[in-house]
Symmetry: C2
Subunit: 460 residues, 2 copies
């Protein structure tokens, strides 16, 4: 067994409680009314990108597949629901049998998205689909927010590697997902051992100020570190005086010293000074790693500085100002006159025999949605760059058929689209490279390509 | 067994991988250098509050105690560390024996804090303490950020109950911790079933727009819901036309209708209209619940509106603009000349026989810290309100001895301060009420009381 398959130190036997109570009460009411078995189509989309962002990044898809697969109600959970009187006995029986048996299509992980992109489509009975709302949104909203920030940082960093080191700034398990999303967005490594363990992401890390302070002086600390970790380690040089620390570091490790890390001060200025000093000491191959509240703007501002790698924490795991994507999960179509038995559970066939009607919230207040089961395709310009996100209902126009974005993820309840994390990472790099050049401008702007709606009968 | 003790659907057999790699490499180097056994004091504090905030709220303490208790390296984890060559065999042997055997003191959960407050103090050998950095910070930084936002919202809401419903906007397990923190900060209930299951927080929830859209018309949907959940349910009235929905709702449920929920539009305006309509229909006891991207400012702006409860999602789980507290975990003191064996593991005595020296980073760059093991006390004014956060090293001045803030949490590795979540919630309400009145002003300001430093020999 591959070590990455062992699962986290946190084992998740069931994801069924990552659910808002109203999903169960809706199920209960629908079962009683005989409408729970109505064939339904839910879609995940966002009405807008975070203010000023030019593209979004789909992340968490692989985690959604795990969550759907593990979504079961065991005896403890059923007992809890009974004791709290959240559902009735009929619903408990239904939940005890629950296993998602429908279909899920979606943008593959790492793909970019825009306002209105149908990022994920969940189809089955109302009952089996409505229950997945919260866990799907939790995963996609969190992971996509982090991946979007990571992507901007990666594009600002260019060829220089980025180290994810934000675990201490977010929930301990959100941190693991954040490291995963950062990797999809273009980060090279993480400091988070749980992320290395669970997702096989390369991990790095050498020492903190505490290690220097533990010892009687900086020299003792550096010697201890080099003795244990070798000359190619990274020594932290800003505990006392940077200039002195760099001198001591090269004295102890020699010019083979792997790297020095600078974690405070004016990084631009200090990096230049340290580079010059290292070169004068003959340590021309010793690298400079900078860390200290970096975000994509700070990274970009260091583009001309002699920096070899960036470590990013807080701003990465908090989505650089946008800690959540604003994705929603909406019923967009349902059977015209449903199979009104419903109570036989989710195993009921969801075959296409019943016509679907598009549905959407109509009330005023700016939260209206576009009804109907949608396809999406990215139209290219003459040079092969993305020109528009085309979203429609009904048949896909011939010219867009081979540019469709949704892929099959779950078929009849079975996950059919597992892939290694590197596939998502590579896909993201390719998708971003295919956007117009202004996509990676850091300044605030509009979505870099428009979303066009091609409704049934309107052509494309 | 109480159902809340069963643990989440997510079981956490070990928290040891919620660790940045450098903690293990520091341990490895310190073991080799013979310094891992040096008695050390680490403190958690923050250099500043989030911009404009007037107080912070300690949350997550109970989760930290769980994490420390479960911090063990099992065979799978040790194998991972060996395969990755992160530590050597000597360190692996040490880790296999690891169990925190030191002492932890801290501000009790729910207490308020200010810049420089020693929120938690971890004392033992360097090796056993340094490993806990990341998991302690992850928990406190996340949970305290959420609790601070919750506290502001609770104070803006006054006597009206707040419902936490942000699970879909954050990582699925961060959501559970967020619901817990929200409860500490003053929220009444949560929509998150996992939080109800794990922490016994009251859960609520009835229906979403999807339920209305599933049915052939709003009337069918309302009837289905009332049939299943009773007349005292909450009907969502903004799927189509609010006025029509309210009329239908009262027609179907009668004046015993529990509540209506409004999730879009100008809530101030709509709430007034709906209240008038409900009253005219005789449903004078039917409550109005509002939800829709609320934050503390929106809640405050509805103070004069006929609103009975608020549901808060995104802004709560993202800390209302400040998704993380900026707490750090710093070595502040260590043995002058340590027990240099170190390798006998964490069970070694940490008795006070070796004098401690204060240590602190000295480099320029604004990240300096105050060295030394600290006490903290809140000085009161003549009216009994908080006047200053006094933080010091050395003996506690007599006048402050009974106002000390740190309590013993872990003694010789044993957790000694477990408490029900309601204790933290009550403590927070009391602590906030004890602050000067301007504490709960929503406008941006300075910390509502100053932090004063009383260094050894300087008196208070």
């Amino acid at each position: 067994m591959d070590i990455a398959d062992l699962g986290l130190p946190v084992d998740v036997p069931s994801t069924a409680l990552f659910t808002d109570q109203y999903e169960l009460t809706m199920l209960r009411a629908a079962l009683k009314a005989g409408t729970a078995g109505r064939r339904s189509v839910f879609e995940v989309f966002t009405r807008r990108l975070p203010d000023g962002r030019r593209y979004g990044v789909v992340a968490g898809t692989g985690r959604v597949l795990d969550a759907v697969e593990n979504f079961r109600f065991d005896a403890d959970v059923l007992r809890f629901l009974r004791e709290r009187d959240i559902v009735d006995e009929e619903t408990l029986d239904w939940l005890a049998q629950y296993r998602f048996s429908g279909d899920i299509w979606g943008y593959p992980e790492g793909e970019v998205y825009f306002p209105g992109s149908p990022i994920m489509r969940v189809e089955g009975t109302f009952g089996e689909c409505v229950l997945l709302e919260t866990v799907i949104l939790s995963i996609l909203n969190h992971d996509s927010a982090i991946a979007a920030a990571a992507s901007r940082m990666a594009s600002a960093a260019g060829d220089r590697p980025l180290i994810e080191m934000g675990a201490r700034r977010t929930h301990e398990l959100a941190a693991v997902a954040a490291a995963r999303s950062a990797y999809v967005g273009g980060f090279a490594t993480t400091s988070d051992l749980a992320a290395g363990f669970r997702y096989n992401i390369p991990t790095v890390g050498t020492s903190a100020h505490a290690f220097t302070l533990l010892h009687d002086n900086e020299r003792d600390a550096f010697r201890a570190q080099v003795d244990a970790l070798g000359r190619d380690t990274t020594l932290l040089v800003d505990t006392y005086d940077v200039g002195e620390a760099v001198r001591t570091a090269v004295e102890i490790a020699g010019p083979e010293l792997g790297a020095v890390r600078i974690d405070s001060g004016d990084l631009l200025l200090v990096a230049h000074r340290v580079r010059q000093q290292l070169d004068e000491l003959g340590a021309t191959e010793t690298k400079i790693v900078v860390t200290s509240d970096l975000d994509e703007y700070a990274i970009a501002s260091l583009a001309a500085a002699p920096v070899d790698a960036y470590g990013v924490g807080t701003q990465l795991v908090t989505g650089s100002g946008h800690p959540t994507a604003s994705m929603v999960y909406k019923l967009v179509a349902r059977a015209e006159c449903g199979d009104s038995t419903g109570s036989t559970g989710s195993a009921a066939s969801t075959g296409g025999e019943v016509p679907l009607v598009p549905v959407a919230k109509k009330s005023s207040g700016g939260k209206t949605s576009v009804g109907g089961r949608k396809w999406a395709a990215r139209r290219l310009d003459a040079h092969g760059y993305a020109e528009a996100e085309v979203v429609g209902t009904g048949p896909v126009p011939a010219g867009l058929a081979d540019r469709q974005l949704l892929v099959e993820l779950v078929k009849g309840g079975e996950v059919v689209a597992r892939e290694p994390l590197d596939a998502a990472r590579d896909r993201h790099a390719a998708a971003r490279a295919n956007l117009p050049l202004s996509a990676t401008q850091l300044s605030r702007g509009e979505p870099v390509i428009p979303t066009e709606y091609a409704h049934e009968g309107s052509g494309s």
